[in-house]
Structure formats: structure tokens, C-alpha cells
């Protein structure tokens, strides 16, 4: 397959993803979200360093006062700000979850519940593309992928106005998976099915 055909494959993958169309159709709101990004960032940083954010964690020390049973001297060691940051790590990593991109969406007008942002049938290609990128040691791509997720995490808005950044990498991994498997007849058939399904979910978006 020559480079022009490769480009077509990428374009087909992008255009059969409903989230691209919903983002275009909500462009003014998208810009509004971007303009407010710095406010969101400041809110997030305030949260990370405020004392109120650790209040629920500190309140867990109360259990020591009331409950009987084995006493763990180290238990105070757990319920402090470090645990907040462990929790934040999980919030950060949740932005990698394929569920948002291939099924659930963010529930906002940027990605309504009735359709998945990217055709769910593309998911196996995504897995293959991601693992192949790791195997091929494409550290620049993988590093940028992690960085994009970190930016979205810092902005603190789990919606496609910002997840768009990550989405680009997710679509790249899908494309990579497609390219790696396209020599197989079954993969080509499956890809065709995925595109048809992509059109079906676009139909859902238009007609429902």
C-alpha cells in the first residue's frame, strides 16, 4: 500500500468517528471551553494543594477512635495527602481508558450518549496498534500520548473539548493497528465492517 492509500485509510478512520462531527458542529462551545482552560487549570491546582481536599482522607483516622480490633501503628501513615495524590494518579490514568473513546463518551454535547465517539469495532485495532507501538519502541509517540493525557488531567475537564488531544493519539493507534493487520484478508473484511458500522452510528447521530 502506498503512502497516498495510507492517508485515505487514516481519513476514513477519522471521518467514520462520530465525535469528529459532533466537535465540528459544536465549534463555538469548543472555543469557549478552550478559552476557559486556564481557569480550570487554576481550579485544579487549588484543589491539589488546598486543605479541604484532604478532609475526607483525614476523617478516616476517626475509625481508629471508634473501632476495636487489631491496631496498625502504620495506619496514620496512610491517611494523609499522599493518599490524595495516589487517588489523583488513578484519576489521571482513567483518561487512558478506552471506554471513554470507544463506548461511553463524555455525556456532553461534544459526545452524546447515543453514539460512541469512535466506532467500537475499531477497538481491536487500537489494542494492536498500541502494543505494536510499545514493541517498536516508539517512545516519542508514546511520550506525547502520556503528555496529552497529563494536559487533559491538569485542565480537569473530562470532556472531548480537551480529550480531543488524546483522541488524536487513539486514532493514530487504530490506524497503526489497521496498517499492521491489513495484509490479512479477515482483517480487511473486519475493517470494512467497522467502517460500515461507523456509518451506522453516524446515522444514529443524524436521525435520532
Amino acid at each position: 500500500m502506498n503512502s497516498r492509500h495510507r492517508k485515505y485509510v487514516f481519513v476514513v478512520i477519522v471521518l467514520s468517528s462520530p465525535v469528529i462531527w459532533t466537535l465540528i458542529s459544536h465549534f463555538p462551545e469548543l472555543v469557549y471551553e478552550w478559552v476557559n482552560a486556564f481557569n480550570n487549570l487554576s481550579d485544579k491546582l487549588n484543589f491539589l494543594f488546598s486543605s479541604s481536599s484532604v478532609a475526607p482522607i483525614h476523617s478516616m483516622r476517626l475509625a481508629q477512635t471508634y473501632t476495636s480490633g487489631p491496631v496498625f501503628i502504620l495506619s496514620k501513615f496512610f491517611y494523609n495527602r499522599v493518599l490524595l495524590y495516589v487517588g489523583e494518579f488513578f484519576t489521571f490514568q482513567s483518561l487512558f481508558s478506552p471506554r471513554i473513546y470507544f463506548l461511553a463518551g463524555d455525556g456532553t454535547p461534544f459526545s452524546p450518549n447515543i453514539v460512541e465517539p469512535v466506532s467500537v469495532l475499531m477497538f481491536p485495532f487500537w489494542v494492536y496498534g498500541l502494543f505494536t507501538s510499545i514493541k517498536d519502541k516508539r517512545y516519542r509517540v508514546l511520550g506525547s500520548y502520556v503528555l496529552s493525557v497529563f494536559i487533559v488531567y491538569l485542565v480537569g475537564r473530562r470532556q472531548f473539548s480537551f480529550l480531543l488531544l488524546v483522541l488524536i493519539f487513539q486514532l493514530y493507534f487504530v490506524y497503526k493497528g489497521v496498517m499492521m493487520s491489513i495484509s490479512l484478508k479477515s482483517a480487511r473484511l473486519y475493517l470494512g465492517l467497522s467502517v460500515v458500522y461507523g456509518l451506522f452510528i453516524l446515522g444514529r447521530l443524524i436521525f435520532l
Binding site: M60, P70, F72, F90, S94, S97, V120, G203, L208
Partner: protein, 533 residues
């Protein structure tokens, strides 16, 4: 150290974490545990359940029917230990500990080295998901034991051409189906997939032997015919299936065949909506937060929690899953894929978004991924490997202590109420003092935030007061001297009645304080008030 010693140490650790404080933690026996315990006792004593049914294949309870295997196991343990909390939880704790050996044997049979298989066994021994459900009367844990032994025996039978192992594996798979509901979906799919994977070996095992086919078929029929009978001709299976069915989910708005127009028929068809809904639930289980942060639900959502597995193992799983994807052994890749795909399937077909018990069928996949991750790490030629192992061991130690604090302290503090803490104390007070009063009233309504929950106090009275099953049946399934309802203070206060009720059901300001006692939750809040006339 040789294998036997290492496995012995791991088994001892597994026993320790499952048996220490078994009767006190979790802090209360759930309604299911009490019901299983009393029915097991009734079977041991009379050969009939609490409804008088002789050796039933499905045990009737108040709202549904329970699979029989765990109740018959409890009947054995009550015969040995007598009716009590230990007897109810003993089968789970023992089989949970024995799973260590089964998992080691399964990993070895799949093709792992002895070292990696032992690491896998150690993973099961201290895994929070497995430990938690080993310490209470959850049927799912027993079913999982049967599944793991069944997989081991199946692989053994096809590799060693051992027909007896195959028959035993069929028996264990069938037993798992009779033990817990999720296995009714998981096991048939697993057996079909494994049989397809090993079809050549299976065919050679059965070749030119009608007798073997007849024996295997006979064993399958022996277990499946009664199940089909219960499923299609009685409410024993359908009641539970309907109660937990995803079709009851309000987030699944179906048209039920009534479409407004063709575009709705095409683009919003019920079949598509159901498939998408199931897929959504299925994907819910691929949630790292559920798996590593809060899946065990030991604390409310807004607090830090405990995942199904230790967070420190996250990188090991990441390496393991990646390595599985490119693993040189096709056999291992396909077995892992089967376990990965089928594990969350039963849970995805039910009402809840994420359910740690119903997805217990997924645990073998994670054990496999951990073993592969450990194998990969051990084979790496990297500097400071010992330092990395030391750091990992320290973090694992911290995770284990954290789990201990969550389990022994935070969980009772937040959720004693949901484990029906207080009914034991109420039943014991009622039994001890019933001779002094005409009647003992124990409320069936409780909840610190209001009358939110309904209990079944008579089950606790039967269990803790050791009421003889024959006496209970002879009294037309009532317990003389006990009533179980919310109190009506104006009427009940005029009787010679011991009242044990939630605080909001009683005018506490009007009652003489000398006549009042409190049963408190571990967090200090009042569970029940005991009022003497």
C-alpha cells in the same frame, strides 16, 4: 527451598489471612450467611431444609432460591463444629486456602515454570479480592475453586490422555454450575472454548471408545438434566435470573417492538440497544479504578478505598498483559484470551454496573497475567534487579497493611450496617431474656439514616438461639414468643414486651432511661434500642 516447603509456607499464609478473626470480621453475618448456615444445620439435623423440603436441589429463601452446593458443604461443617459463625464461614476459608494449590497446579499445567507457578500461588494467597470473599459465606468463591481445579484437570486429561481426569474435571465444572449463578454462563462457554482449543487431543481420547463417550455423556446428563428441569419447569433458577436481569435496568430504554418510524427501527433497534448496553457493562470491568482502587467497596465512594488487587501490582499486570499479547506459546495466548473475554461476561449480563462477586470468574485471568508479568521480569537482564525487588516488596508490604487497615477498621466503621450488624446482639438478648416477657419484638426495619433497610430477624433468632428445625416446622415456621415487625409504641408499651427497634421508631424522650439499652455499630452510632417494660 524445595517446592513442597514453599507451597507449604504459602498455604500457611493463605490459612492465616483467611482464618484469623474469621468469626468477627466481617463484623456481622449477612442474611445470606445466616440463611445458608441454618439451612445447612437443618439438613445435618433432619435431612430437610427450613421449609421441610427433603434434600432439595434448590434451597428456597424469602425472595429467591439458593444453589445447593455451599449449603450442603455448610451442613458438613455444622455437623463437625455445630451451628455457629465459624461453621458457616469454614468451607469458604478452607477452599479459599486450597485454591493456592489448585492455582499452582493450573499454572504449571498451562506451561509455566515451577518458580512462576509458585509466584502465582502466592499472588492468590494474599490477593484482596480472593481473601475478602474467602472470609464470608459467598458461594462464588467455592464455585471459583471448582473452576480452577476443573481447568487443571481438563488440561491434565488432554495432555496425559487421562480419562479419569476428564471425568473429574466434568464433575467439578458441573459442581461449579450448581454452586453459583455466574458459573451457569461462564462454565459452559469456558468448556466449549477449551474443548475447541484441545479438540484434537479430546478426539483422540475418545477415539473408538463408545464406552468413554457414554460415561462422559452420562455424567454431564446427571448434572444437567436436573438443572434444566429447575430452569424450565420451576421458578428456582428463573426467579434469580429475573431479579438480576439487565432488562430491569432503567438505563436501558427499549421500544419493545413499538417504533415510531423506520429510522428509529433501523438506528435505534432494541437488539442494537441491548448489545450496546451489555458491551457498556462489559467495558465497565476494564476500569483500572475498579480493579485497583475501590472495587471491593470497603468505604463509600467519596473516600479512598480498596481495589480488587494491590495497586503496587499494576505495573506487573501491565507487563504481563503486554507479554501475553506477544507470548510465544499459542496455547497460553489462547487460554489467556478465553479467560480474559469470558471472565466479566456473566457480570455484564446483570443489573449492576460493576460487581466484584459476579466478576470473580475473572480472577484466573489476572493470576495468569501476573504470572506472565513476573516471568518477564525474572527473565530480564537489568541492573539493580535486587533493588527493584526490594522496592516492590516494601511497597507490597505497605499495600498489605493498608488492606488490613481498610478491612479490619474502615470497613466495619463505614459498613457494619450493611452487614446487618446488631441483629446478632438483638437475637442473643431476645433469647436470653424471653422467659421474662410475654413477647420479644425485634424490628425488621433499620438504618442509621432512616428506615432504609429491611432485615429478616427471625433468621437471626433461628441461627443464634439454635432453634431446632423440627420445632420451627412444628410451630408452622414461627418462633413462639417472638414477633418481627416495626413497633407500635402506643400499643406495644402497654404489653409485657421486650422491644428491640430502631431509635426513630421509639419516643426515646418519653421512656425511662433505666429501661433502655443500646446496641451500637462499631462507629458508635445506634443500631437498635432495647426497651424493657
Amino acid at each position: 527451598m524445595n517446592t513442597k516447603v514453599l507451597l507449604g509456607i504459602i498455604f500457611a499464609v493463605a490459612l492465616l489471612v483467611r482464618f484469623v478473626g474469621l468469626t468477627s470480621y466481617p463484623v456481622g453475618l449477612t442474611l445470606d450467611e445466616v440463611s445458608i448456615g441454618y439451612n445447612g444445620y437443618a439438613i445435618a439435623e433432619t435431612g430437610a431444609d427450613e421449609w421441610g423440603q427433603k434434600f432439595p436441589l434448590a434451597f428456597r429463601s424469602l425472595s429467591d432460591y439458593k444453589p445447593p452446593v455451599s449449603i450442603y458443604l455448610v451442613s458438613l461443617s455444622t455437623a463437625v463444629f455445630g451451628l455457629g459463625e465459624f461453621a458457616v464461614r469454614f468451607p469458604n476459608a478452607l477452599l479459599g486456602s486450597l485454591t493456592v494449590f489448585a492455582f499452582w497446579a493450573m499454572l504449571k499445567r498451562i506451561g509455566f515454570s515451577n518458580k512462576v507457578s509458585i509466584i502465582g500461588a502466592a499472588w492468590v494467597a494474599i490477593n484482596p479480592w480472593h481473601v475478602f470473599y474467602s472470609r464470608a459465606g459467598f458461594e462464588a468463591l467455592i464455585a471459583l475453586f471448582f473452576v480452577i481445579v476443573g481447568i487443571w484437570l481438563f488440561l491434565r486429561s488432554v495432555e496425559e490422555k487421562s480419562f479419569s481426569s476428564l471425568i473429574l474435571s466434568i464433575v467439578l465444572f458441573c459442581l461449579s454450575v450448581w454452586t453459583y449463578h455466574a458459573e451457569r454462563v461462564f462454565v459452559p462457554a469456558l468448556v466449549l472454548a477449551l474443548s475447541y482449543l484441545k479438540r484434537r487431543e479430546l478426539l483422540s481420547l475418545f477415539s473408538k471408545s463408545v464406552g468413554k463417550i457414554a460415561i462422559a455423556g452420562g455424567v454431564i446428563l446427571l448434572f444437567s438434566v436436573p438443572l434444566f428441569y429447575l430452569t424450565f419447569l420451576t421458578p428456582a433458577v428463573s426467579t434469580r435470573a429475573l431479579a438480576t436481569s439487565l432488562f430491569r435496568d432503567f438505563r436501558l430504554p427499549l421500544h419493545n417492538g413499538f417504533y415510531l418510524n423506520y429510522s428509529q427501527f433501523i438506528f435505534d433497534n432494541d437488539l442494537f440497544l441491548i448489545a450496546r448496553h451489555v458491551l457498556g457493562k462489559y467495558f465497565n470491568y476494564m476500569d483500572v479504578e475498579f480493579l485497583f482502587r475501590n472495587g471491593l467497596s470497603l468505604t463509600p465512594k467519596s473516600y479512598p478505598g480498596m481495589g480488587l488487587m494491590y495497586a503496587v501490582n499494576l505495573p506487573v499486570f501491565a507487563v504481563g498483559i503486554y507479554s501475553l499479547f506477544f507470548h510465544k506459546s499459542r496455547n497460553l495466548r489462547i487460554i489467556a484470551l478465553i479467560l480474559f473475554v469470558l471472565g466479566p461476561l456473566p457480570a455484564s449480563l446483570t443489573l449492576d454496573e460493576q460487581h466484584a462477586i459476579r466478576s470473580l470468574t475473572w480472577l484466573p485471568f489476572w493470576g495468569l497475567a501476573f504470572a506472565v508479568g513476573a516471568e518477564k521480569f525474572l527473565s530480564m537482564k537489568i541492573h539493580f534487579k535486587n533493588v527493584l525487588v526490594g522496592i516492590y516488596a516494601s511497597l507490597l508490604g505497605i499495600n498489605i497493611v493498608y488492606f488490613g487497615d481498610m478491612y479490619f477498621r474502615q470497613f466495619p466503621y463505614f459498613y457494619a450496617e450493611l452487614w446487618l450488624y446488631g441483629y446478632k446482639q438483638a437475637a442473643l438478648i431476645g433469647c436470653a431474656e424471653k422467659e421474662n416477657y410475654d413477647e420479644v419484638l425485634i424490628t425488621d426495619t433499620f438504618g442509621t439514616e432512616g428506615p432504609l433497610y429491611t432485615g429478616v430477624p427471625y433468621e437471626y433468632v433461628l441461627f443464634y438461639c439454635n432453634i431446632a428445625p423440627r420445632e420451627f416446622l412444628a410451630n408452622n415456621r414461627t418462633i413462639p414468643g417472638f414477633v418481627h415487625r416495626r413497633p407500635d409504641w402506643k400499643k406495644d408499651s402497654k404489653q409485657n414486651m421486650l422491644i428491640i427497634a430502631a431509635p426513630y421508631d421509639l419516643p426515646l424522650d418519653e421512656i425511662n432511661k433505666d429501661k433502655v439499652d443500646y446496641i451500637r455499630y462499631p462507629n458508635g452510632r445506634v443500631a437498635f434500642v432495647v426497651v424493657r417494660p
